[in-house]
């Protein structure tokens, strides 16, 4: 089966002078309209933050009181990012290494006590390999609370039919 033959020469439109002037005027008017009432789809990232919906797979947070140390999260982890560590007498607690983590969410799904949860943010910067290991106290801190308590404006994304993505301020 051969492909369909497509004529590659675009026929010239042969617009009359009046039509050309009208098209130019329309383009300029559209530009002026956007100039007066801009429809922006970008936002000022570090100052303004977008909060994703429920179910977003961000950083992983451990609730230390709920955890029973069953090691299921360490077993299911496909990237071997989650490992169990000794925390006191006969007590196992998970720790995650973000150097390996692929944010698949298996550990959160498999946890029988709902001790693990996803935070709703992803924005962290690591300066060294050691700081990518979240162990002990560090693993139980919720990064959402740190980010939301700062001096940032929080936005939520909504899909609008006319404008596409809209960032609505929550706070």
């Amino acid at each position: 089966m051969g492909g369909k033959y497509v004529e590659k020469v675009v026929p010239s439109r042969n617009l009359s002078l009046l039509n050309k002037a009208k098209n130019h005027a329309e383009a300029l008017a559209l530009g002026a309209k956007f100039l007066v009432r801009p429809l922006r789809i970008t936002y000022r990232y570090p100052i303004v933050k977008e909060i994703p919906d429920q179910g977003y797979r961000g950083l992983i947070v451990l609730d230390d009181n709920k955890c029973i140390g069953c090691s299921l999260c360490a077993r299911i982890c496909p990237a071997s990012a989650m490992k169990m560590f000794q925390a006191g007498e006969k007590k196992l607690r998970p720790a995650v290494n973000y150097e390996r983590c692929v944010f698949c969410g298996y550990c959160v799904d498999i946890c029988p006590e709902n001790a693990l949860k996803h935070a709703r943010t992803h924005d962290v910067v690591f300066e060294s390999g050691e700081s990518m290991l979240y162990i002990g106290e560090k693993f139980t801190l919720d990064p959402d609370t740190q980010i939301l308590s700062g001096k940032v404006r929080i936005y939520r994304v909504r899909v609008d039919e006319k404008r596409g993505l809209i960032y609505e301020p929550i706070r």
Partner: protein, 344 residues
């Protein structure tokens, strides 16, 4: 002692040649309007393309000092001179181009009594001086020894032939009506009726030819970024690049001062404040002319966000087949108006 020194400095600054070439409409005004125009161009393009434009450096005033930061960076950057260029023309081209693009200011009056050099045919001299900078552009292209530069220079040389004639013909279309080649007299004749109402055809042709001359969209063909990097200025870096980028904006501002004097009434409405000769005869007319030129320049940078880039053959075809004829029709229109005025 101190008083006499201050008076000396004041007299030096207010001496017409120095005031013209340094303050208004010379170097200081053109540099400030250059910063303002480039910032406005980026900001307008940002707003229309659903972005913010420059904002991060000074969020409260909309990133207005971004261009000062850019200029500082250009000034501190190393100027790399490639081994294969023809060094002397390579260095001369952007510097001389910037200075020569400022040169028409020497013939443009911005107030009724205050000239850099009194002359009776200042329109012709100013228009003649505006035709010089493209030669330096072609010199830069040739000296750079780079194929992108060469293509840019060739495109520029094609465009010069197309737009210069339109600029001069449409300026003559206005001059015919006023019956003079002196800016001061032409502006004083526009007291009741501006030139753009008397001869709109020549005004439109002049406007489009200025768009073409200064590389604004849709005629940004000689330095098309997506096709030939930066045209004739591909090999430049540092302050030389900053200067070469400023040339087209400077030319646009100077052309628009000429446009506002020829078609937009110059310093009309002209009014005086009793007792303040310097303010009423120099500062207020200069402010009016520069504001008009800035507004026209803003409409020109506004086109960047709307139009795409024409091909060279489309631009040349449009210029020769359409705008050249429009300029001639404007000339005939101006002559007819003059003839009718004489008959009636």
């Amino acid at each position: 002692m101190l008083d006499s020194f201050i008076l000396f400095i004041k007299n030096i600054i207010l001496w017409p040649p120095v005031f013209y070439l340094l303050i208004a409409p010379g170097l200081v005004t053109i540099l400030i309007s250059l910063l303002l125009l480039i910032w406005a161009e980026r900001k307008i393009a940002g707003r229309i393309q659903m972005r913010y434009g420059p904002l991060e450096i000074s969020p409260k005033i909309g990133g207005a000092i971004q261009l000062v930061a850019d200029l500082t960076r250009y000034m501190l950057q190393e100027i790399i001179i490639p081994r294969t260029v023809d060094t002397l023309p390579y260095l001369i081209a952007p510097i001389a181009g910037f200075i020569i693009s400022l040169l028409p200011v020497a013939a443009i009056p911005i107030s009724p009594i205050y000239f850099p050099s009194p002359m009776t045919n200042s329109i012709i001299v100013a228009l003649a001086l505006t035709t010089l900078p493209p030669i330096l552009n072609i010199l830069a292209a040739w000296a750079s020894n780079n194929k992108f530069s060469l293509i840019g220079g060739a495109r520029e040389s094609f465009l010069i032939a197309a737009y210069e004639l339109i600029v001069i013909l449409s300026a003559i279309g206005a001059m015919v009506i006023y019956g003079t080649s002196d800016f001061t007299e032409a502006v004083s004749l526009q007291k009741n009726l501006w030139g753009i109402i008397l001869n709109p055809i020549s005004a439109i042709a002049f406007y489009v030819a200025v768009l073409m001359a200064t590389g604004r969209f849709p005629f940004e063909i000689a330095e098309a970024e997506a096709e030939i990097v930066m045209g004739a200025y591909t090999e430049y870096s540092g302050l030389l690049y900053g200067l070469s980028m400023g040339i087209s904006y400077t030319r646009m501002f100077v052309y628009n001062v000429i446009f506002s004097l020829l078609f937009l009434g110059g310093w009309q409405p002209f009014f005086t404040i009793g007792g303040h000769i310097f303010i009423s005869y120099v500062l207020i007319p200069a402010t009016v002319v520069i504001l008009k030129a800035l507004i026209v320049s803003l409409t020109m940078v506004f086109t960047r966000a709307i139009y795409g880039r024409l091909r060279i053959d489309q631009a040349l075809g449009g210029a020769w087949k359409f705008w050249f004829l429009v300029a001639i029709v404007g000339l005939i229109w101006g002559s007819a108006l003059t003839y009718l005025q004489q008959v009636i």
